[in-house]
């Protein structure tokens, strides 16, 4: 397997705060990678740097070996990286169908018809279980449903790599299961994922590899079992052992 996404020594400061400090990791093509770490360890900032919403002070981001550091968000999207947001960002006064079609601008002209036909958008909404709400304004949906809309919006662009920022945060267990199933299904079709999540059960059950961030840098990585028992992780990140069920108290806090 080859690295689809590679982050090399990225740093990012806000004033005096080093949000990311010489952080490196990679995501292999066709895998589902997890990115975990305590609140404030720089996970979302890392997503923002990768997708061009923030500029890195140092280091580089490579997609399939190609340098994409600090490219604007629109260009990142057209190169095949899609992302969702921790606090969902749908277009609240547009219908679900319209929400999906906004992304039409971000794909090469030749593929627009193929990707953004009414039928394919409908299929995608069906895939996330919201087909019968295609003509409803997105603002009327629940938080969990909006997360699904975001997923469909990202999928519409047919990305190679999808970054999910807390896909299971703050939504009901039934939807969590559904989102997990959808991710696995897409992964089998060849989509690579990088998932930030506080719900340990979700991460451990879903990911092939887990990277651990602390204080802006990656401190460990490996298979879920390995990471779960890594003393550095237990010590630095969890400050103690995981609960019996694999979740930790922070997940509830993050869900709120």
């Amino acid at each position: 397997m080859t690295a689809l996404l590679e982050v090399r020594g990225v740093s990012k400061s806000f004033g005096g705060l080093r949000a990311i400090d010489d952080c490196s990791f990679l995501v292999e093509e066709g895998s589902i990678a997890g990115l975990i770490g305590p609140n404030g360890s720089g996970k979302t900032t890392m997503f923002n740097v990768i997708t061009g919403y923030e500029r890195a002070d140092a280091g580089s981001v490579l997609l399939g070996g190609q340098e994409v550091t600090n490219a604007p968000p629109g260009r990142i999207a057209s190169l095949g990286i899609g992302r969702t947001f921790q606090l969902t960002r749908v277009f609240s006064r547009l219908t679900l169908m319209e929400n999906l079609q906004v992304g039409r601008a971000g794909v090469p002209r030749a593929r627009r018809g193929e990707l953004y036909g009414e039928a394919r958008c409908m299929d995608l909404l069906d895939f996330v279980g919201l087909a019968d709400m295609a003509r409803v304004p997105a603002g009327t949906l629940s938080y969990g449903q909006r997360k699904l809309v975001e997923l469909a919006m990202v999928l519409a662009q047919d990305p190679r790599l999808v970054l999910l920022d807390e896909p299971a945060g703050g939504i009901n267990p039934l939807l969590i299961t559904q989102i997990g199933e959808r991710i696995r299904e897409l992964n089998q079709r060849g989509v690579t994922f990088l998932v930030v999540e506080h719900n340990m059960e979700f991460v451990m059950g879903l990911c092939d590899v887990v990277w651990v961030m602390e204080r802006g840098t990656s401190i460990a990585h490996g298979e879920p079992e390995q990471v779960r028992n890594d003393p550095r992780v237990l010590d630095a990140y969890l400050g103690g052992a995981l609960d019996e069920d694999g979740s930790e108290s922070e997940s509830e806090e993050a869900a709120r």
């Binding site: 997708t51 061009g52 919403y53 604007p72 968000p73 629109g74 260009r75 990142i76 999207a77 057209s78 992302r83 947001f85 960002r89 749908v90 277009f91 609240s92 006064r93 547009l94 319209e98 079609q101 906004v102 992304g103 039409r104 601008a105 971000g106 794909v107 919006m153 662009q157």
Partner: protein
């Protein structure tokens, strides 16, 4: 809804065309002229501000640019009054569109409140220029346009039909934009501009294109207005009330809808004309107008069209 529209639109057009023949009193046709002119101007404003969510309060910049353009053209080419002058109206619109490029380029670097303030500031700069650029505007002495050789009884009708043509164009363009992917991008910018950018929408270009389109349509209105008045003076061409009026009309009717600004203008402009005729002194009409603005924002924040639509949906779903 669709069949209702298929009947309503041709019917409205027939009524609009027939209006000056039925109500031929010049006092009435004058009000009708201004009403139709403001249908066009409010639709133009809504095309940019209503769709994109950027509240521009400086549309008089384009109105005035169109007015001064046609005054200059008719003076320099020594044109005599007549229907032929109207051929210059679209050109005046294009000129206002060219003015809109640097104005938009500058103003659209800002967002929200800052954008509103910048558009107001640019408006005052243009008003000041109109007073001081003697060679182009003749300053506060103003400029005269050629007098049309039409009889008083039908004088207003020519302008009425010119304004009606502008209104039809503005509505048609608004409708086409609303249905296009370009329009969808504008609406996406209104809801979450950064997210739209992240999805590959070139927000800068999209906003500027809509801003310029708004400038072209508004400039056409300004040119018709100047020809109707027969003269151009800085405070009439670059009028602060114009900035507010078009916005209020769109707010009242329903921001971001095609029919909203039309309905808003149809209701408000005759009202405003009536007020100015009744209370010429003391600017009482302005105070009443301001009070109305507050009432609309307070009680009908969505505007008439969306409110009625919701009511219709609720009744139907019962």
């Amino acid at each position: 809804m669709k069949t209702a529209r298929r009947v309503a639109i041709p019917l409205a057009l027939v009524c609009a065309i027939g209006f000056p023949f039925v109500f031929s009193n010049p006092a009435t046709t004058s009000i009708a002229f201004f009403t139709v002119l403001y249908v066009a101007a409010a639709s133009a404003w809504n095309l940019f501000s209503g769709y994109s969510g950027y509240m521009a309060l400086g549309n008089a910049v384009f109105y005035g640019s169109g007015a001064y353009f046609i005054a200059n053209v008719t003076n320099h080419l020594n044109l005599s009054g007549g229907v032929g002058i109207f051929a210059w109206v679209p050109v005046a619109g294009l000129f206002a569109g060219v003015v809109a490029i640097p104005v938009g380029w500058l103003a659209l670097r800002t967002r929200r409140h800052t954008f509103v303030v910048i558009t107001i500031a640019i408006f005052f700069i243009f008003q000041l220029l109109a007073y001081n650029l003697q060679s182009v505007t003749n300053g506060s002495a103003g400029m005269q346009l050629p007098l049309p050789p039409w009889l008083a009884a039908t004088y207003n009708d020519y302008f009425y039909f010119a304004a009606l043509a502008a209104a039809v164009i503005a509505i048609a363009v608004s409708w086409a934009v609303r249905r296009s992917h370009f329009g969808l991008k504008l609406l996406a910018i209104r809801d979450d501009e950064d997210r739209a950018r992240g999805l590959g929408v070139r927000t800068g270009r999209v906003k500027l294109a809509a801003f310029v389109l708004n400038g072209v349509l508004t400039g056409m209105c300004g040119a018709i207005y100047a020809y109707y008045l027969g003269s151009v003076y800085p405070p009439f061409a670059f009028e602060a009330i114009f900035d507010l009026t078009v916005a209020l009309m769109a707010f009242l009717g329903g921001l971001g809808t095609v029919s909203g600004p039309v309905i808003g203008a149809l209701l408000l402009e005759p009202f405003q004309q009536y007020l100015t005729q009744q209370f010429t002194a003391a600017g009482l009409s302005l105070i009443l107008f301001g009070a109305l603005f507050l009432i609309v924002i307070g009680f009908l924040p969505q505007g008439i069209v969306p409110s009625v639509e919701q009511l219709y949906q609720r009744v139907r779903s019962r």
